[in-house]
Symmetry: D2
Subunit: 345 residues, 4 copies
């Protein structure tokens, strides 16, 4: 049996979540997120974000969350600014375009964008005499951590937030792996910082302990109106909404979200160290649950006999960057086995 | 504590499904529906449909399924023909329109449409000299059972199917409550009939024993291509797809789907009989899990002290039609209590 | 050679417009409506509307104008309220739906809607507990004159406008035939009234003397922002925008628009009278350039030997309603010949 | 008075077109392109293309034509492959995205794309294991001449066409300036070649002698169905369609289109030579009606006193690329004056 490090959604849910789902299974609740579990989960999340006035909505998945948020914010002639590597730019089968909006990409190698890039794109648009013939930048989308495992520092996020506010473009953060960013050892960003600096963001559950589910937090009052219509229109209004409420309640009532995120990051750091000790370099400098070592083909082949992981990109004829993911569910004994095999390469 | 008959998604999932989710929780599987549970569930469903070549996809919810199916079939200038009461026409916040398509409605009181209506609409379109200025009917959407609990007989469905094929319009069936239609006592339609007569349909799990999930069955080869792109674009590609596979595997490996559907229908028939015996009439003639008695206001008020149910429509100053739903989860003791209270009205 | 009364766009443009196009043909101007002709035309129109702060944009056709306006105003989950007979509801191949929005129809026989209907639909939406599952009414669209030749009185329009403002739904008027409404003998509505009561409307040129062109007037400040982006996105930004400017300049510099509209209405009244004198009744009570007599089949056949006109609808086995259109271009001698032939029926 | 070389749509229409519009002004014709002028124009164009079975439709402008064509061809999950500089990628305010489709860009400096690039993008998509999560390339869009004045040779177009057919992706050519490409002195591509190698293309009128209008030629039978619905839905069904028919009739009945295109190209070559003789280099190597000399700032300032032209891009602190356009309407005396002023720089 292959040991899977290919992604961070290979298992079901954390045992405490499964237990809670069992315990509540026979409860009768109203549908569509209007139940008490959702209410409690919202309260926990608002508190964790230090954002008492935020609206919190529960959606099933990341593409759904991104599409619903972005389509709800933009006017038809506006686009979403994102890294060229951004999930919405590359890996959502044109879901954003399907709602009528262009993704305006900024070049990025490591998945991050810079405040200056945003400002330059904004200025370039408005200084162009033919700007009415071009898609107007309408919001800025970032991922934290990025698809490449990298994270924004507090000062970087503050700079982006500042530009966004000056330019009147809401800042949207895709937090599908947010837990792994919050617990990265070099991270100085708290949930409260994110709530202070972003207009809308979401806290990923699918990849961080839940069966499925993303908690969308709308901090900016101007973007709150009618969001539930938008959820329903995009097929994201889960009939048994309490399933999402129960999961986020469990994750946030006493810090489980952080605890299991930390575990994944710790496991990733062990793997990272093992690769580094063997002299391998990394495609991206990630301190989160995704690690991108560059391996010679034979090492890659050897490891793939026992472990599944993602081929990321060919670096040259002899070497490829690959991705190893850990998660809340990663077993320490599997990591230790992997490390032993890395050392044996 | 209120006893809920307001809808058919007030509880979690059937105990056997919950157990299976627990048992498989630590398994590592590939994502996006490419796992073995999904494969097995697909095989069971194909067999149940006697449609060995059908494609089977698992989506999370009904609005998502309707939107994904319809957007995948129609060309931009085409619309979906539906009953004026149809779910896509009324209760999906314009999800179909959001993909660019008009819903072309046929008048219906009980939720059903007739083959002749479809033919008339089709002829009216093509005989109009300005037809290029009008939305072209591109497919026909029906629900079985309908939102009003009514069902199509085999001969009715055959007639609609025949018209659709003559006119080149795929027939799409929304089966969010399909189990309750298949086990209705007056029903002569089998899953195999449906697979033979429809081009695409789905088997509802959300309202029939699962936490969530709809199994989309594409019978018509011409409509199979690239459907997974469509799922992803509409945000319906569940990362942990195996959750849906596990649930449908459980529902279809040995007939659980029928068994629990039958239970709901039996419970509904008991309620129906109780109301009928008390001399109440019904807004729709439903043999499925939804019952629509017309109650005097005082009876309605009396029952609402103990039970939750949906107010459907005002019939006159003194009477309203209401909806009582049963489901796979309905407890017999609750139904018996309700019946006692009905008899006491 | 058939004499055409089938519609109001059978000829080119008014002679003065053609002359002006010839006279200005070699002028070099900037593109996209930024030329001096457009500027002058805008000034004339603002003055005629007594709306000095209105934004005026020139588009090529009616469907384009409706789509651009409506898509620019609505949020994605909102729909446009219109008469069931409205042009956007029936005759634009789903152009509104193609921008993602449902057309919410109100029953209408003569093309008009009533303030009370709008209020009822609005209340029904917001009073429905499941309103988030339904398309939210976002604006109200009316035509003046309607597709059936009928017009709104000042008090009717005031009532609709009042409801719209109370409900926060912009009022949009399709004025493709506006000239024929303004000069109808029973009309008490001026351009200034329309500018006062509507949020956006357009003054039709295509059917009233121009080769093509509709002047969109945005009165409501909140709806002005970025409208030129919307025009460009919907393919309505005419490269040689001055062509539209020149035409509207000619139509509005000294009242030509009213003068030629009056001519069309006078011709229509002559035809109306002739049919009435012969004892024919009318499908709609129109005082504008479209007349809808109900004719026995033999009369219809007789007239169709010499004249083209539109078959509107079958009234019974023996009779059909037809449409005769006049326009700015209708020749009096043709009308007199038609009248003679009507009298001979 | 500024002499305008800023674009190729600064005047009205060619004198023969204006005369024809005058001569036919009082004719009564059916609307929407069903008149005899349109029929004749279609016949002339089919003949010029040596494509007797092609469908020919007349639209008003380029963005409208691109959007209508592309939206009509693609399925929802597909995108249009284009040069990064392509008009649909940059200058149509996201019109393609507004119909739900991503523009998949290929890097290009001079506006052209290469067959190999198309093949690589196609292969990269289909070889990616996550291709269902990415927009599928569905057609290839090129401009001829490009926005940069460059043209495809016959062998280049044959190579692109071959790849497109092997990959099942229709080839769409934007011919907004097609005349200027056909008559470029280094061009070996005829209309017949284009009709043979492309699936859909259009022959630009707006920039080549007409008031407005683009003739869309659909060669591929599979793409012909229901195109008029698509035109209407996108607001491009001109009520007085005969205006477009009359113009294209005039342009194609005896070669006027080529004759006036040749004139523009000749004028452009004179300007090109003058700049070259003065030692200026060019941003793009254009043999068509757009010329892109790189000028020192002082020369640029000097010329801008008397002539309008477009600033294209800053090359360095001292130099900028600018664009001078000629057209069918360019007066030789103005070109001679410009040349004198160039020589005096």
């Amino acid at each position: 049996m292959m040991i899977r490090f290919e992604c961070d959604y290979t298992e079901g849910a954390h045992a405490r979540i499964m237990k809670r789902l069992m315990d509540t299974n026979e409860e009768q609740t109203p549908g569509y997120g209007m139940d008490e579990h959702c209410e409690r989960a919202r309260a926990y999340i608002r508190k964790a974000c230090q954002a008492e006035n935020a609206d919190v909505h529960f959606l099933v998945g990341g593409t759904q969350a991104n599409t619903t948020i972005i389509a709800s914010i933009l006017r038809p002639h506006q686009g979403a600014v994102a890294a060229s590597t951004g999930h919405i730019a590359v890996h959502e089968t044109g879901a954003i375009e399907a709602t009528g909006h262009k993704v305006l990409t900024l070049p990025s190698d490591d998945g991050k964008i810079k405040a200056e890039q945003v400002k330059e794109l904004y200025d370039a648009h408005w200084n162009d005499v033919t700007h009415e013939h071009m898609v107007q930048p309408g919001l800025v989308y970032i991922s934290h951590p990025t698809e490449n495992g990298t994270t924004y520092s507090k000062s970087e996020l503050e700079a982006i937030s500042k530009v966004c506010r000056e330019c009147g473009m809401p800042l949207v953060m895709d937090g599908a792996r947010l837990g792994y960013g919050l617990t990265a050892k070099d991270s100085d960003l708290s949930l409260a910082d994110i709530a202070r600096l972003c207009d809308v963001f979401y806290i990923g559950g699918t990849k961080v302990g839940a069966l499925m589910g993303e908690a969308v937090v709308i901090v900016n009052d101007a973007l709150k109106k009618d969001f539930r219509y938008s959820i329903k229109q995009h097929g994201g209004m889960l009939a048994k909404g309490r399933l999402l409420g129960i999961q986020f309640e469990t994750l946030f009532e006493d810090g489980l979200y952080y605890e299991i995120s930390q575990h994944a990051v710790d496991m990733a750091m062990m793997i990272r160290e093992a690769f580094a000790e063997q002299g391998f370099s990394f495609r991206y400098d990630s301190m989160t649950n995704q690690q991108f070592p560059i391996l010679p083909n034979e090492a890659l082949l050897k490891l793939s006999e026992k472990y599944s992981f993602s081929h990321w990109e060919k670096v040259d004829a002899e070497n490829s960057a690959v991705r190893f993911c850990t998660s809340w569910a990663t077993k320490k004994e599997n990591v230790e086995m992997l490390i032993k095999d890395i050392k044996a390469l």
